[in-house]
């Protein structure tokens, strides 16, 4: 019933292993052993990139995971970026209780440039991804979405959204109800007006025009 501690995802460039960093290493190792055991050598010889979801993990954990993987004949890839210092361009996305879409490693994945999240983000949860993010749910106040590309929210966006996190000037934030606490696009920041905010009646898009963040009703042109 508990959310999965270890998740394997197959991609064109190899296997991704996502660890729930809010668990402890003993549980993770046990879950990983179990998963590999169930797979019965299926993953043997595969190259695995290890990612973490949630808090920052100590380097010893990664070494422990490496030894488990190697015991089962898997090869762990050197990580493209030190996951112990993720989100240097992101506004503290690893807060906690977060579900990180694998920032840090994901840029090495050709084609996998949009992540789909089929639930709401609640206060304290955050997602960051090197690419676009689509959320089928609400983004509640106190949560954060950070993407190097566009952000699309099929629900109310009331938390903090950061599109174009690597500086992309053409990044957009679109939501059915766009009423964020704060919006960031590339190097620009806008915040919601003080006082009561009326809920918008139609979907809106935020983007940069002449160096300022503007919000307009969403149209397909």
């Amino acid at each position: 019933m508990k959310s999965q501690e270890v998740i394997f995802i197959g991609t064109r460039s190899g296997l991704r292993l996502i660890l729930d960093a809010e668990d402890n290493i003993e549980n993770l190792k046990r879950a990983l052993e179990r998963r590999l055991h169930e797979a019965g050598g299926f993953y043997s010889g595969a190259r695995v990139s290890v990612e973490t979801r949630g808090a920052v993990v100590p380097p010893e954990w990664i070494e422990e995971v490496r030894s488990v993987l190697e015991d089962h004949g898997l090869l762990m890839e050197e990580r493209s970026r030190d996951a112990a210092t993720p989100g240097d361009e992101a506004p503290d996305p690893e807060a906690n209780g977060s579900e990180r879409g694998g920032a840090g490693q994901a840029q090495s994945l050709p084609g996998a440039d949009t992540v789909m999240i089929r639930r709401s983000l609640r206060s304290g949860q955050s997602v960051s991804f090197d690419g676009n993010i689509v959320i089928m749910g609400d983004v509640n106040p106190g949560s954060e979405v950070c993407a190097t590309g566009d952000i699309l929210v099929f629900g109310s966006l009331r938390g903090v959204a950061y599109a174009g996190a690597n500086g992309r000037q053409d990044a957009r934030v679109v939501a059915l109800r766009l009423m964020p606490t704060q919006l960031r696009i590339a190097d620009r920041i806008a915040r919601s007006p003080d006082g009561e905010v009326q809920a918008p009646l139609s979907p809106e898009a935020a983007f940069l025009r002449d160096g300022a963040i503007v919000i307009e009703p969403w149209t397909t042109h």
């Binding site: 019933m1 959310s3 709401s120 609640r122 206060s123 304290g124 609400d138 106040p141 106190g142």
Partner: protein
């Protein structure tokens, strides 16, 4: 037999977790099922006081976790409500005296003989919270109609999901319909629109709660109290009864009340 373990939690302090735990527990027990309450707020215990059982504490949760006494032996039977028992918190220790595993073991043991085991969770999102939710299958999230409490409830709902407790129930406590009507207070729909979980009950702000708490008599015993009635409705809904949200409806204003009073006087 295997009972249901329910944790009552909120994130924010002072929204009425302990009152809700005591009231729901007492109301359920009065309807027939056997209920064990666990006070997981180690170091800041209150549940015994609210239930009027302070003087009867002999063993506590930490004694049980330490293995000094069996969980069933440590329980205190309520003096008036015979199906209600309490496992009190230790006052001289802190949250680190218990682990999530040991807490789960206690809850599992109690649910073998009780229909409901209700855990009063401490405020916060740290170890005390992790302990309290460890053995729970269901959760009741208590909030008040204030933005800060609603935000914290949102955070807690996310954390409950992470712990594998999906679809928690919501109680909106201390609502004042006169303020809602003047748009000075969030209404039920504002809160639901934000949190999007199942509403278990709306409890009106009621001075009877303060009186009941100080006297150590659960408010649900008070037939006349509006909050007491709302908590009895909550218990009925937990039992699976389909009770309409009476309290969520507009409270009568003085004018309707006078008309009704005249009507009754005439008839």
């Amino acid at each position: 037999m295997s009972g249901t373990v329910i944790v009552v939690t909120s994130g924010k302090g002072g929204v009425g977790k302990t009152t809700a735990t005591a009231s729901i527990g007492a109301a359920l027990a009065m309807m027939g099922p056997s209920v064990a309450l666990i006070d997981a707020d180690i170091g800041l215990r209150n549940l015994d006081l609210v239930l009027g059982l302070e003087g009867r504490i002999f063993h506590n949760l930490v004694d049980v976790v330490d293995g000094a006494v069996d969980a069933h032996k440590a329980l205190i039977r309520h003096k008036d409500i015979k199906n209600l028992s309490l496992l009190p918190a230790a006052q001289s220790r802190d949250k680190t005296a218990v682990t999530p595993e040991s807490m789960k073991a206690v809850a599992d043991e109690l649910k073998s003989t009780f229909d409901f085991v209700i855990i009063d969770c401490p405020a916060g999102i740290e170890q005390g919270f992790k302990n309290a939710v460890a053995g729970a299958e269901k959760a009741v999230v208590v909030t008040t109609p204030e933005m800060s409490a609603v935000r914290d409830a949102d955070r807690i709902i996310g954390m409950l999901e992470h712990e594998g407790i999906a679809d928690p129930w919501l109680i909106i406590n201390r609502i004042r319909f006169d303020m809602v009507k003047k748009h000075d207070m969030l209404d039920v729909n504002d809160v639901l629109e934000h949190l999007k979980i199942k509403l278990l009950g709306v409890i009106p702000d009621d001075e009877a709660i303060i009186v009941a708490t100080n006297k150590g008599v659960p408010v649900v015993v008070d037939e006349k109290s509006k909050a007491g009635r709302a908590f009895r409705d909550v218990a009925a809904r937990i039992m699976g009864e389909d009770v309409p949200m009476a309290a969520a409806a507009e409270e009568e204003d003085w004018f309707t009340r006078i008309i009704r009073w005249f009507a009754r006087a005439r008839g």
